[in-house]
């Protein structure tokens, strides 16, 4: 009881501290007062990178290394989930009986699955023009596979194929970075022409990286799902 109230008081203090610091010292919605780095992104971003979507310009080009790290975080987590759940499947006798999905859901998944994949592809291909991007597209692709899992209790992905895909696209990303280093002396340097903003084949290396990220994220999230499903089966 005492522990609980102390914790509550601490949390309340934290809440008040965060809120009032923000409210007093960083007025919400104020026009930019500090001349921060983002001015450069906003005013020169399109010229520098060729991407109309400034967030993409930052994520893939200016701060591309963060994104490499981010992909790595997801990769580490997917690997970690695999390592943690390794050999955890239930013994054959204790398998739980599952309700099969109804015909409607099954047939729906047959029709919608390719469409969802295409949506995902659309989103990551247009990452430099629209709010999409590799991660969002990858999430949609993983959703398509999730639909498969949901509609069929016996569905399984081909592990080797997924692992190989994941490796190839991951290495593509790393190689793009290393190529930049070899060609220009800067890791992840944009060594392709920028093209004219607003077109599909513009923004230099961004589309390549986003296609790689999209496929990779899709494969990784699916891998995580598969690992978790396997434990249940």
């Amino acid at each position: 009881m005492i522990k609980k109230s102390i914790a509550l008081i601490l949390i309340a203090i934290l809440f008040v501290a965060i809120f009032f610091t923000l409210a007093n010292d960083l007025p919400f919605g104020d026009n930019r007062t500090t001349t921060g780095v983002s001015d450069k992104y906003i005013y020169h971003g399109v010229n520098d990178t060729g991407a109309s979507n400034l967030v993409t310009a930052i994520v893939v080009n200016y701060r591309g290394f963060d994104t490499l790290g981010e992909v790595t975080v997801l990769f580490v987590a997917a690997t970690g989930v695999g390592a943690v759940l390794y050999n955890m499947g239930r013994p054959a006798g204790k398998k739980r009986k599952k309700t099969e999905a109804s015909l409607i859901v099954r047939t729906g998944s047959r029709i919608l699955f390719p469409m969802m994949l295409l949506f995902g592809a659309y989103i990551f291909v247009h990452g430099h023009l629209t709010p999409g991007g590799g991660f969002q597209g990858g999430a949609v692709i993983a959703t398509a596979f999730l639909f498969k899992y949901v509609s069929d209790t016996r569905y399984h992905i081909d592990h080797n194929k997924f692992t190989a895909t994941e490796s190839v696209v991951g290495m593509t990303f790393a190689l793009v970075g290393i190529m930049g280093l070899l060609l220009t002396g800067y890791f992840l340097f944009n060594f392709l022409p920028n093209g004219s903003p607003g077109e599909l084949l513009s923004a230099g290396i961004i589309p390549i990286i986003y296609v790689a990220i999209g496929i990779k994220v899709g494969a990784e999230l699916t891998g995580i799902l598969d690992n978790m499903m396997e434990v249940e089966q």
Partner: protein
């Protein structure tokens, strides 16, 4: 009944490519190229399940029926919607819900999906489950419990179209 793999694949790729064109809504050559490549790739992953008929779906009769079906269906939906709206709005709530069983002659899964979805989308009726040719429908105002009559009342019209479009 089912078509060959090539036919299925080509059909899937064409549908996906059309989808891509609608998504991007441009005819810029780079987009078209990307669309071709991606729909070819995606079709390879899902063509075997996407369709039963393959290119056979493009027969003029089917397309014509499909085009006619859309307004018919929409009109039905709106009519039924107004009916449900009346039931929801009226203070007494004149509803008489129940689950009835109906039968269908449709054979292919996709046709059944179309029928079930049409029934579900029409307010007042909701597909609860399908088992072979038996459909269980939750009906907001049960007019009849007889299987034959209910079949005609709920799904008859849709079924005739579905039979041509998907079978």
């Amino acid at each position: 009944m089912t078509a060959g793999n090539v036919s299925k694949y080509v059909y899937t790729a064409i549908i996906l490519f059309l989808l891509w064109i609608v998504l991007t809504s441009t005819f810029f050559w780079e987009e078209i190229l990307a669309g071709l490549v991606l729909s070819a790739m995606v079709a390879a992953m899902g063509y075997s399940l996407f369709t039963d008929k393959g290119l056979g779906n493009f027969s003029p009769k089917r397309l014509a029926y499909f085009l006619v079906y859309i307004p018919v269906f929409l009109w039905d939906v709106i009519k039924a919607n107004l009916d449900v709206a009346y039931r929801v709005l009226s203070p007494k709530m004149p509803i008489k819900p129940g689950i009835v069983e109906i039968h269908t002659d449709l054979k292919s899964d996709i046709a059944k999906l179309g029928l079930a979805n049409s029934i579900t989308l029409t307010p007042g009726t909701l597909t609860l489950d399908i088992d072979d040719d038996r459909l269980f429908i939750h009906w907001i105002y049960v007019r009849t419990t007889d299987i034959k009559e209910a079949s005609e009342e709920i799904g008859g019209k849709f079924e005739r179209y579905m039979k041509v479009i998907f079978e």
